[in-house]
């Protein structure tokens, strides 16, 4: 049981998907201008990533592996992720139209979010079993959400900072993200694999 916990902590803090593996940067930059949208996006991404890593594990181990079609993994994973995202989009559109409007283009864009496809493929390469891939997917999503929400709170404060003109907007956001990943370096070695 403890190694599941370590895996979770490792994925959330030590090799955080956004600040250490630098995956999923475009929604990280795009959605983080306001905290509510960031929180909305975090829930959507967590839902998608956990479901996608689950489904991709099942599809891979029970359909592709027996038939020897390993070379199709990437394509089927993209198909799975697209379906999950489409499904999430409908749910979000139905449940809270406000959030749907706030997220705008970034909701369908989760399909192309490299963190989502990344988690599916990394599950494959590190031969995670069923339970581990769910934990891994969930951990990656929690890491993504944690950093995204913290970053959105910072950007809301930065919006009024007297930043020199060329650096206004996404330039200063990039620098802040850089400093954040500098801070996340502190976690290296926290969990011994």
């Amino acid at each position: 049981m403890t190694d599941y916990l370590l895996l979770l902590v490792g994925t959330v803090l030590v090799n955080n998907f956004v600040l250490v593996k630098f995956l999923g940067l475009c929604p990280f930059m795009g959605v983080s201008s306001r905290t509510e949208t960031a929180i909305g996006m975090s829930f959507a991404t967590t839902f998608v990533m956990t479901l996608a890593s689950l489904l991709s594990y099942i599809v891979n181990s029970y359909i592709l592996a027996p038939l020897g079609l390993e070379y199709l993994t990437t394509m089927t994973f993209i198909l799975v992720i697209a379906v999950v995202v489409q499904f999430t989009e409908m749910v979000v559109h139905k449940t809270s139209a406000n959030l749907y409007r706030l997220l705008g283009i970034f909701l369908p864009l989760i399909t192309t979010n490299c963190a989502v496809l990344g988690v599916a493929l990394l599950n494959l390469y590190e031969q995670h079993n069923f339970f581990e891939s769910i934990i891994y997917g969930f951990g990656a999503a929690v890491g993504f959400s944690l950093v995204l929400i913290m970053f959105s709170a910072m950007r809301e404060k930065l919006a009024n900072a007297d930043v020199p003109a060329p650096f206004k907007g996404s330039a200063i956001a990039m620098i802040t993200a850089g400093l954040m990943s500098l801070a996340f370096m502190g976690f290296t070695g926290l969990v011994k694999f």
Binding site: A153, A161, D162, P164, I172, I175, A183, G186
Partner: protein
């Protein structure tokens, strides 16, 4: 005769930001004195280099952004950042370490976000972390206390080492750091971490010469010096009480629980309090109002989170002294903490719906 119009309130308490900053700088003097006394001139030189670089950097950036130079340059914030950076660097690190660190702190972490009051990260700690990750070798050449050194090094030797890497007699920094019986000395935290990985128990590793008896070698004195400075600031109400208290308390609780669980593999709470940069972090860095949380409840959470992170990284992490990382991580969380720890306004949510 003409009148002038000003908006109320018309009179004003006489303390100012710059006097606040100067107060904090004066409070670091006991710590610096202890450092000078036990470790020689190294840190003083670094502080001097850092302050000079900081002022030049601030001057250039302010003139580039054609802001009013005089009030902003000498309001003490840049000097304070440089002093903190100078204190936290290894004594014998090369000169360009503190110059690069100071310029990075002032130009990038502070001025790029809009100068005083706008920077989300503490400039000194951001610079320290950047240096630690970019120049691991130079940043881990900690100078052992003077009493343990094979040969005593004077001001001229330290100057030569810092600027040229070799003492006039030709010894390199490595040679200076090697103990008489051949092993290179490091900070207590460093020795503890290396011994832990080697499987020694805490009691055995405490015998190592580098740690010395309680308050024997000077590491503890430096933290005591900063503790003294911190209490002076608290008495002057220059810094809020909530952050240092919650930080030290949470560190105490974490280390105490760990110590209770397995005394062999965990250092005592006093050890955690008085080694590394704990006291410096508690009173001078975490209480930086600009990058910290604002409300009292927010500061309590901020300090507690920092204490927990310091303990986690010290116990499990790869880096021996994690105060710098913990500060940066808490600075990142500060805006989020602020959003959720706003105090209840007078007359609001009293349960009675108006």
């Amino acid at each position: 005769m003409a009148f002038w119009i000003a908006s109320s309130p018309h009179n004003h308490q006489q303390n100012e930001t710059s006097s606040l900053m100067r107060l904090v700088i004066y409070a670091t003097i006991p710590g610096i004195f202890a450092q000078w006394y036990f470790f020689g001139w190294g840190n003083l030189i670094h502080i001097f280099l850092a302050v000079a670089a900081a002022i030049i950097a601030e001057f250039t950036v302010l003139s580039l952004r054609n802001k009013k130079i005089k009030p902003q340059l000498f309001d003490g914030s840049a000097i304070l950042t440089a002093v903190l950076l100078g204190i936290s660097l290894p004594a014998l690190a090369p000169w360009w370490i503190s110059v690069i660190g100071s310029v990075f702190a002032i130009a990038l972490v502070k001025q790029l976000y809009g100068g005083l009051g706008h920077n989300p990260f503490n400039p000194a700690m951001a610079a320290y972390v950047m240096l630690l990750i970019s120049f691991p070798l130079q940043m881990t050449q900690w100078q052992p206390p003077l009493s343990l050194l094979a040969m005593d090094i004077q001001l001229t030797d330290t100057l030569a080492v810092i600027f040229s890497g070799y003492t006039p007699q030709g010894y390199s920094v490595e040679q200076i750091r090697t103990h008489i019986d051949g092993f290179t000395m490091a900070t207590p935290l460093d020795t503890l971490k290396t011994n832990m990985t080697l499987g020694l128990t805490v009691v055995e590793s405490m015998q190592a010469p580098t740690i010395g008896k309680h308050f024997g070698l000077g590491w503890e004195w430096i933290n005591a010096g900063f503790l003294l400075g911190g209490l002076f600031l608290l008495s002057k109400k220059a810094i809020p009480w909530s952050t240092p208290v919650s930080f030290l308390l949470s560190l105490f609780v974490c280390s105490f629980i760990a110590f209770m669980i397995s005394p062999d593999s965990n250092a005592s709470t006093m050890f955690h309090w008085f080694t590394g940069a704990t006291m410096l972090g508690a009173f001078f860095i975490l209480t930086d109002p600009v990058s910290g949380a604002t409300s009292v409840k927010g500061r309590l959470i901020f300090g507690a989170l920092a204490g927990l992170l310091v303990f986690l990284i010290r116990k499990f992490g790869g880096y021996p002294d994690a105060v710098a990382f913990a500060v940066l991580l808490c600075n990142m969380a500060a805006p989020l903490i602020d959003q959720y720890t706003r105090p209840r306004t007078y007359g609001h949510d009293l349960g009675v719906k108006k």
